[in-house]
Subunit: 364 residues, 2 copies
């Protein structure tokens, strides 16, 4: 996507040296636009753990490139497997991380040692390119859903609501939840996006709003508390979110609070759609609520906040008194029964085992 | 309630001069403990509008005392009615404001001019004392509900979840939602309170957590997004909130986001109770969702935040980029069908016209 006229992706190989990995430091956005250079697998692991990169598809791609950095340093399979294990342990909920590392290892294991570095970069590059193509396809399929709403209310903008950031910053390009929004906007469909702030890390207000503003998509930031009220009053035509892991029966793990919006959508007859590349599906899990591990993150994400002071400086404040403890579960699971459908690179389907099997029969 | 061993209420008449009105500046809590002195009705109106005092029962009491300040300055009925109209216009959603002013005017109108000032202070004092007694009664009735949960899980602490602040800071003393919690805690019942941060003004993290910490009640602050996940995993035995207005059929207006928690409670079989004095019931409204006005507050409540810097100073940061607009509806309406019951000063009842009529037959 373009930033002030220049095309960017969220991860790429440095064009000068041809091997170091470039990312945007998403912990600094939107206050500061910093491009980081990763030269060691440990830096890639840190970037994922500290959420300099986040979003299920993107952390899969960065893990793949991180493993390429490890292979470049030491292509012996034991070292590569140790690096993959370190990367896999950085975050527990998003399945794309494990999927990308498994794919990399499957590609690298059979190769002679000397062939692994080149193959690792090629495979990581393929993962990234496939993600871009899949997100573009999600955009096309999701845009058809938005166009159906336009047909029902011609001449009025379509109001969408999204939670967290599932835009191009969460993938390699285009996004999952935001890909249909970008596609529809680019196709001339009038729309407006309610952007959930998304406490405690505020990825909605900081990343989604920034993305949408850069692309010129009309939007309004709201507190996470406000979506239900807006749906009660007919102000939301469709909810669309991304996901960190979908079970094979269609349960959807996503940023904490997604479940509450799905409940409100159901209560008000608002369609609730989830955009995802198939790498986000965990075919090994049937019960999302019971079996998807939910990351508990540091309480400081809730008790402190960073922003811009009046003088332009970036500062951090404590916003919960220090004698009150805080808890910070980072994800929740929306049961499949609350999900209108899934938007994948192969098209839309019901959030169910049968729905997923219809699009992905090879996993049946 | 006690703060560091000293008994406080949230509003009182100055003991030295016998007429000025004292409040705690709740916009400064918990970072600073400032007692304000109100000497003019305009200052009382500002205190309500700027949310130096908030909480439906408390703004009723402060409006009553504010009117007493107006009467002291000019007891002519035209001046008193103009002052009441100004006070009534400060905030639209909480009905207690209008209820208290109507009660004051009904008391003052028939009196000779010279008798009005004394009567105004007496009536405002009566409103405040009745609120304290009613909240204490809500505490007793609500404690019985908590005791029932204890009976079902002996030896384990009861986990409650609350949204916003409906503690003693929201009333004259004791609180509505928190009164049963204080009563149960004081009676030796082991409990733990999940405190919703309550964006955008963070009254949960700033006021409820502070109140509970001062009183020694175990609690944990969570993002507003987290309650559904906790309920899915059996971590919440009961939700208890306050309200700004209840329609005569039991619809509940309360801080934005309450509706989302009620949906999650229903989806997980968690009881959802609402504590209120009867002054919060609007007998003139049957359809809460259609007829209760919802205040839209300034976007800056969402786009900026105040907290404590590392150096101890209090600072304000921008936390939404300036090129993204924001919307800030302050309340939502939870339909009666999602409310397990209402806890009033006369006891508990179903959230329905029949339930309310059973406790308040005089309004039948």
């Amino acid at each position: 996507m373009k930033i002030d006229g220049t095309l960017f992706r969220s991860v790429w190989v440095d064009e000068q040296d041809g091997w170091s990995v470039r990312i945007l430091d998403q912990t600094r956005l939107p206050w500061s636009f910093d491009i980081l250079r990763l030269t060691e697998v440990e830096a890639a692991a840190h970037a994922i753990r500290a959420m300099q990169v986040r979003g299920a598809p993107l952390i899969g791609a960065v893990a793949a490139y991180g493993l390429a950095l490890a292979v470049r340093r030491d292509p012996a399979i034991a070292a590569v497997e140790a690096a993959a294990a370190m990367l896999a342990a950085t975050r527990p909920t998003a399945i794309n991380l494990r999927w990308a590392l498994d794919r990399m290892l499957a590609r690298l294991r059979p190769l002679p040692t000397g062939a692994r570095a080149g193959a690792a970069y090629a495979e990581a590059g393929a993962i990234a390119e496939e993600d871009v193509a899949q997100c573009a396809a999600i955009g096309r399929h999701g845009m058809a859903l938005i166009a159906e709403i336009v047909a029902r209310k011609p001449g009025q903008p379509v109001n969408l609501l999204t939670h967290c950031n599932a835009g191009w910053l969460a993938t390699v390009d285009w996004g999952t939840a935001l890909a249909p929004i970008y596609a529809a906007h680019d196709a001339g469909i009038a729309l407006h996006v309610w952007v959930d702030e998304t406490r405690p890390r505020n990825q909605g207000a900081l990343l989604t709003a920034w993305e949408l503003a850069r692309h010129g998509v009309p939007h309004t930031v709201i507190a996470d508390n406000a979506g239900g009220h807006l749906m009660q009053h007919g102000e939301v035509d469709m909810v669309i979110v991304g996901t960190d892991r979908v079970s094979r029966n269609g349960d959807v793990a996503n940023k904490i609070g997604t479940y509450l919006k799905a409940l409100a959508a159901r209560d008000n007859g608002v369609p609730f759609w989830v955009g995802l590349p198939s790498s986000t599906i965990d075919w090994s899990i049937a019960d999302g609520l019971g079996d998807i591990p939910i990351e508990e993150r540091a309480a400081t994400e809730l008790t402190t906040i960073t922003g811009r002071a009046l003088d332009g400086s970036i500062a951090t404040l404590r916003i919960v008194p220090s004698d009150s403890p805080a808890a910070n579960p980072a994800f929740d699971v929306t049961p499949a029964r609350l999900v209108t459908g899934l938007i994948t690179e192969r098209g839309c389907c019901a959030a169910s085992a049968a729905g997923l099997a219809s699009l992905f029969p090879e996993h049946g």
